[in-house]
């Protein structure tokens, strides 16, 4: 069974990995299975209103308003330094982790402002998980402990942890590779496996929203492909926001795309639209220049 699955995977992978010219990106986006936003019980999603961000005196993000409908994948694209990571980190309050960081505007999760006074930030981060650019499993823990680390860290009680462990690893596409070595240390895995371990780890606390900051930028094409498959799978049960430098990736995995740009001043969100539209007929000239590869 697994061998046919594998060969299927490889066929798919070849198809998906074919080099795509910018003009064909739209058809990539059109050809994949389309998701309908907000059809299930995923809550009403995530929404930002007029978000600004500063590091000290430096204004790095200006007036970003975006909606992330429940059950959709949104890609954030744009050149380096335009504030994509900063914006992403405002969505689960990791932004305030930097001492000089400041913020204005509102981030609404199911209609509730996550920055409202009296909010317990650890509860927000449980509902809005995050996968980082560089895989960062906990080296002092085994693979199994890594997956379940969120339960311990957030002091959650779960009765059936074995089941949870398996389901998280299955959903992250890692189960078959590690099921016999759950007691080994996380550092013994390849980079791509480590990143999927980190995805599995963030799934264990059952977030509504998963934020991913260039999750594949340090990985080889094969691992990238597997993670993209994982993202498509996860989108059935959660809302995903992914920062990516790779426009093919945006076309392959996302329903919506938002284009960010900074002209030296603070970064702004230039345009947001369904992904196929961004790649076929963007409204803004700057978006068109970027997706056709004229700069960035």
């Amino acid at each position: 069974m697994s061998s046919t699955e594998n060969s299927n995977n490889e066929n798919n992978m070849e198809k998906k990995m074919q080099t795509t010219t910018p003009s064909s990106l739209a058809s990539v986006a059109n050809n994949r299975e389309q998701r309908v936003p907000g059809t299930n019980l995923l809550g009403t999603g995530l929404e930002t209103r007029g978000v600004h961000a500063w590091f000290g005196k430096k204004h790095v993000l200006s007036d970003v308003s975006l909606d992330f409908a429940a059950g959709t994948v949104t890609a954030l694209i744009g050149p380096s330094g335009c504030g994509k990571s900063t914006y992403l980190r405002t969505l689960n309050r990791m932004h305030e982790f930097i001492p000089t960081a400041a913020l204005a505007g509102e981030v609404l999760l199911d209609g509730q402002d996550i920055y409202a006074p009296g909010t317990d930030v650890t509860k927000i981060r449980l509902r809005v998980g995050m996968v980082f650019q560089k895989p960062n499993p906990f080296p002092s823990m085994t693979i199994g402990e890594n997956v379940l680390s969120g339960l311990k860290l957030a002091q959650l009680k779960k009765s059936n942890t074995d089941e949870l462990l398996e389901s998280c690893l299955v959903r992250a596409g890692l189960w078959s590779e590690v099921k016999d070595r759950l007691g080994e240390h996380g550092g013994a895995l390849s980079g791509g496996q480590q990143q999927r371990l980190c995805i599995a780890r963030s799934l264990a606390v059952e977030p509504q929203v998963l934020l991913m900051d260039e999750p594949c930028s340090a990985l080889d094409p094969g691992s990238t492909f597997r993670i993209e498959e994982t993202i498509s799978e996860l989108a059935k049960s959660m809302t995903i926001v992914i920062v990516t430098h790779n426009m093919q990736q945006a076309a392959r995995v996302s329903d919506y795309t938002a284009f960010f740009l900074s002209d030296g001043g603070p970064g702004v969100m230039v345009e947001t639209a369904p992904t196929s539209k961004i790649f076929s007929s963007p409204t803004d000239k700057r978006t068109e220049d970027y997706v056709t590869g004229r700069f960035g």
Binding site: N92, M94, F97, T122, K123, R125, L126, G129, M130, F132, K134, N136, P137, F138, P139, S140, M141, S149, G150, K152, L153, A154, Q155, H185, C198, R201, S202, V205
Partner: protein, 330 residues
């Protein structure tokens, strides 16, 4: 012979790969080598000196030098040495007792202050505290001794009595006579305060280096600060903290003046930490050195050698512990 044959037949011997370092590099290398070696040589010479001086006593006493506890020089009517016995056991036990009390009391406080300084203190309060603690590390131990004797003793005596009253059924906390002043317990407390700065400084340095991506990973999973510290910082810093604690232990074992000031140096084996009698090897040397005759000086040198070896052993153990507990969290 064709070229091909030639190639396949003779495998060349590996060439010697050399380089000619620049003059500036050579000079610097010499300077660094002299610096590095000199500390080693000085240490070696001290060990040699102690061995040479102590060897006679050690040869006579043999193992009883560390297992027996009698330190006596008997003189006959003309002031000549009639008989002498040197056994260090009482002082060795005192050394361990006071140092252990220091580590047990001091290390937890030091680790907590290091965690506070790294993860909770902010801005100018942090700067002030860090420099205060560094200053404390450089404080002369005599001042700690005075402070212990004049200030700490009174209140520590109260705690000692309390311990004795409620835990006196444990032999360690029992006393043969109600003398609570100048006990190993109080000496241990003074030593604890002495080692807190150095252990704090080392722990803080280690905690500070905890990789940011792991800390962020923990927070992104909904960790509170406490659970982040337990899951990420402690596993990462454990080895370094153990190393710092062992350094503190070494320092507490070798401490002379503070112990001499606080402790009632009595030459007897005393396991009862609350009882006002005891001593350690270093304080014995200080106590006896002034009026010792030539033979007793040799015995004191042998005691110094034992202390020297003890410190080496503690360092070796700390290396092993660091390797054992430290690597996994990295």
């Amino acid at each position: 012979m064709t070229l091909m044959e030639n190639q396949s037949a003779t495998i060349p011997a590996p060439r010697e790969i050399t380089t000619k370092p620049r003059v500036s590099d050579q000079i610097f290398r010499a300077v660094v080598t002299v610096g590095g070696m000199s500390s080693l040589i000085i240490l070696g010479l001290i060990a040699l000196f102690l061995s040479l001086k102590g060897i006679n006593v050690l040869r006579i006493e043999q193992l009883s030098f560390i297992t027996e506890s009698k330190w006596e020089v008997l003189q006959d009517a003309e002031g000549k040495i009639a008989e002498s016995t040197f056994g260090l056991a009482a002082m060795l036990i005192g050394t361990f007792l006071a140092a252990l009390i220091a580590v047990i009391v001091g290390v937890p406080i030091a680790v907590l202050s290091a965690l506070y300084l790294t993860f909770y203190a902010r801005g100018s309060a942090k700067k002030l505290l860090v420099s205060l603690i560094d200053l404390m590390a450089a404080f002369p131990s005599l001042l700690f001794g005075f402070w212990g004797f004049i200030v700490l003793m009174g209140s520590a005596e109260y705690w000692a009595k309390l311990l004795n009253k409620y835990l006196g059924f444990i032999p360690l906390f029992d006393v043969p006579a109600p003398i609570f002043e100048r006990s190993p317990f109080i000496a241990g407390l003074v030593l604890a305060i002495m080692i807190i700065p150095i252990v704090t400084a080392i722990s803080r340095e280690i905690f500070d280096q905890t990789p940011l991506d792991r800390i962020q990973a923990a927070y992104a999973l909904g960790a509170s600060k406490l659970s982040m510290i337990r899951a990420v910082v402690i596993p990462y810093g454990r080895g370094g903290v153990v190393g710092g604690a062992m350094l503190g232990l070494g320092r507490a074992m070798g401490e002379t003046v503070a112990v001499y000031t606080v402790l009632n140096v009595v030459y007897q084996i005393n396991w009862q930490i609350l009882f006002g009698a005891g001593g350690n090897v270093a304080s014995l040397i200080l106590l006896k050195f002034g009026e010792a005759g030539p033979q007793e000086v040799d015995a004191l040198m042998a005691a110094g050698l034992v202390l020297f070896l003890l410190t080496l052993i503690v360092n070796a153990i700390s290396d092993i512990l660091i390797n054992r507990f430290g690597r996994r969290g990295r």
